[in-house]
Amino acid sequence: MEKRITIIEDIAAIREGFSAVLSSVNKYQVVNRYATCEEALVNLDNDRPDIVLMDIELPGMSGIAGTAQIKRALPDCIVLIITVLEDSEKVFQSLCAGAGGYIVKNSNLESIVQTIDEAVAGGAPMSLSIARMVVQSFQLQPDSPLSERETEVLQSIAEGKSYSKIAADLYISRETVRSHIKNIYRKLEVSSKVDALKIASANNWMNKL
């Protein structure tokens, strides 16, 4: 079955570029493309995307807030951030908001397709600097939600090991490494939500809403 994709990116050339190359791949169907999150959210029910490619810096609602909204409406949808630099703080924030990974805007077609496939199969790539940010964010919590294996995988990425090296060291397959990464992303989102709720209740925001 073709995967339904929507693209949210305010620069037309990039938006159309992604759209054209993804349309050329049989397994994808680009159902719609938008310049703002607001438009995309209005049409979310009609589009029913499996995958959303999301820019971060957008006019109006940011890609970070947009990611959170889409994940709330469609929890199974995979949001992939498209970004100029993969190791920025904003990418990390998007991952906390529920994004399943990121694609560097300048990547070639092969690696775009590879990243989307990996994300769908379970486990989008994670860079060293993102891994370090994740490690830090989990370190702040008293009980880490990560399993022992997930912690080992995360630690290995933060040390700069490639997937093959991690797989060899832990006697697991590359696919298993990726599925651990997927779980890390998911737990990051969940724990970020818990954190946000904790902060909100501590500040008594919930009552004010």
Binding site: I14, E16, V21, K105, S127, G160, S162, K165
Partner: protein, 423 residues
């Protein structure tokens, strides 16, 4: 001690500037004269009760007042200073001859005069050293001639006259040097405060400049992210569309691929450049982390086991390198990492760093086969690595055998303290 408006009153407006060399000396002279004048008004008045000779000191007092106004008008002091000293000698010689010659108590005022002369101007002081000797000689000679001096009217027959003279001289001595030294110290303090002020303002200027630079770096980084990066991505994406539209046109395909390749290359080069302006590129730790991240990202495309062995920073080992080196180290190892994947067929690659007190040894080891560069195609990678190393003080070496290849670069530690604790 003495308010500045008092001595500033006697210094001409034009010279009332701390930056001028003459200012300090004028202050010293004026303050000395102000103190001397005050003492010459008070002390002889008491002495007069016991000895009418003390009245002559008022002449000296008058000359002092004249001198102050002379300085106020002309800004010069040498002429009235010489007049003051000559008058001083005249008064002292006259008073001594009237009160016992060389035996007179008033001979000790000669020392006073000598010291005030030295205080005002060292050249005058040096001359007075000799003139004092001459005066003492004159006094001694005159004392020999007049054996009947003891009968002289003003010889201090009374203990109290001698006592009061000694007290007055002591007070003059003490108060004069107390005042002028105090003033001297205050002046020094002022200078030091001024210096500190200047240092503070310099520091502030440097801080301001640093923060401006930081803002500039951040703006550059943001601009790259918002502008350059997006435009480059747009080019890549549009070239992608073009390639789809070109279909199987074999004439267009290589051209479009070339555009994409160049765009990718420019993107990667801009990233390296951006990284180097946005980080402290003299920090070896940051350079190593950047290369590790590159290696990890790059080798994840292939089934290659990549790991980095970088020992933790030690405070006893220098962490800094010359800032310009970072770019070259990054270039060389990116090239080496790419070559290892493309040509060696390695399944395992290790990026390893060893720290030494004055240098770093950076290694890239693979377990593949060394492929002798094909001379039919221009293979400039290795030559470039060697050239860059040679030009920038890096020691490059490459070793290959049946078990793999090893690229090694020795990086000298930069100048600075070797017990850097900032990491």
């Amino acid at each position: 001690m003495i308010p500045s408006y008092i001595y500033h009153y006697f210094i001409p407006d034009a010279l009332r500037n701390r930056q001028l060399a003459i200012y300090d000396q004028l202050c010293t002279v004026v303050i000395a004269y102000v103190v001397a004048t005050a003492l010459l008004i008070i002390l002889p008045s008491i002495l007069l009760l016991f000895s009418p000779l003390a009245g002559y000191y008022y002449v000296l007092c008058g000359i002092c007042i004249y001198t102050l106004f002379h300085i106020k008008i002309t800004g010069r002091f040498m002429f009235p200073l010489v007049v003051t000293m000559l008058t001083g000698y005249a008064v002292i010689i006259r008073n001594c001859l009237q009160s016992g010659g060389i035996l007179s108590i008033q001979t000790s005022t000669l020392y006073l005069l000598l010291l005030t002369g030295f205080w005002a101007d060292r050249r005058v002081g040096k001359i007075m050293l000799f003139s004092n000797l001459v005066v003492l000689f004159i006094l001694a000679l005159n004392s020999l001639d007049h054996a009947v001096y003891l009968e002289n009217a003003y010889v201090p027959q009374h203990i109290e006259v001698a006592f009061v003279y000694h007290i007055s001289i002591t007070i003059f001595f003490g108060v004069f040097f107390w005042m002028v030294y105090q003033q001297y110290d205050e002046a020094k303090l002022q200078i030091r405060q001024q210096q500190r002020k200047q240092i503070d303002s310099l520091n502030k200027a440097v801080e301001e400049r640093t923060s401006q630079l930081l803002t500039m770096r951040q703006t550059l980084a943001r601009d790259f992210h918002d502008e350059t990066g997006n435009i480059l991505s747009a080019i890549t994406r549009q070239a992608g569309i073009l390639r789809l539209k070109a279909g199987h046109d074999e004439n267009l395909k290589p051209l479009i691929d070339n555009i994409m390749e160049n765009s990718e290359h420019l993107y990667s080069a801009s990233r390296d450049f951006l990284w180097s302006i946005n980080h402290n590129s003299d920090d070896m730790e940051a350079v190593l982390a950047y290369l590790t991240a590159f290696g990890q990202h790059y080798y994840n495309q292939f089934d290659i086991a990549f790991s980095a062995r970088i020992p933790a920073a030690s405070r006893y080992v220098q962490q800094r390198i010359a800032p310009f080196l970072a770019r070259h180290i990054i270039y060389i190892f990116k090239e080496a990492m790419t070559n290892a994947a493309k040509h060696s067929g390695a399944s395992e690659i290790v990026f390893e760093v060893a720290r030494f007190p004055h240098h770093f040894r950076v290694l890239l080891k693979d377990n593949g086969q060394w492929k002798i560069p094909d001379h039919s195609t221009p293979h400039s990678g290795l030559a470039n690595m060697r050239k860059r190393s040679a030009e920038n003080g890096l020691t490059f070496s490459i070793a290959y055998g049946k078990t793999g290849t090893q690229v090694q670069v020795e990086v000298p530690a930069g100048p600075g303290n070797s017990t850097n604790t900032s990491n």
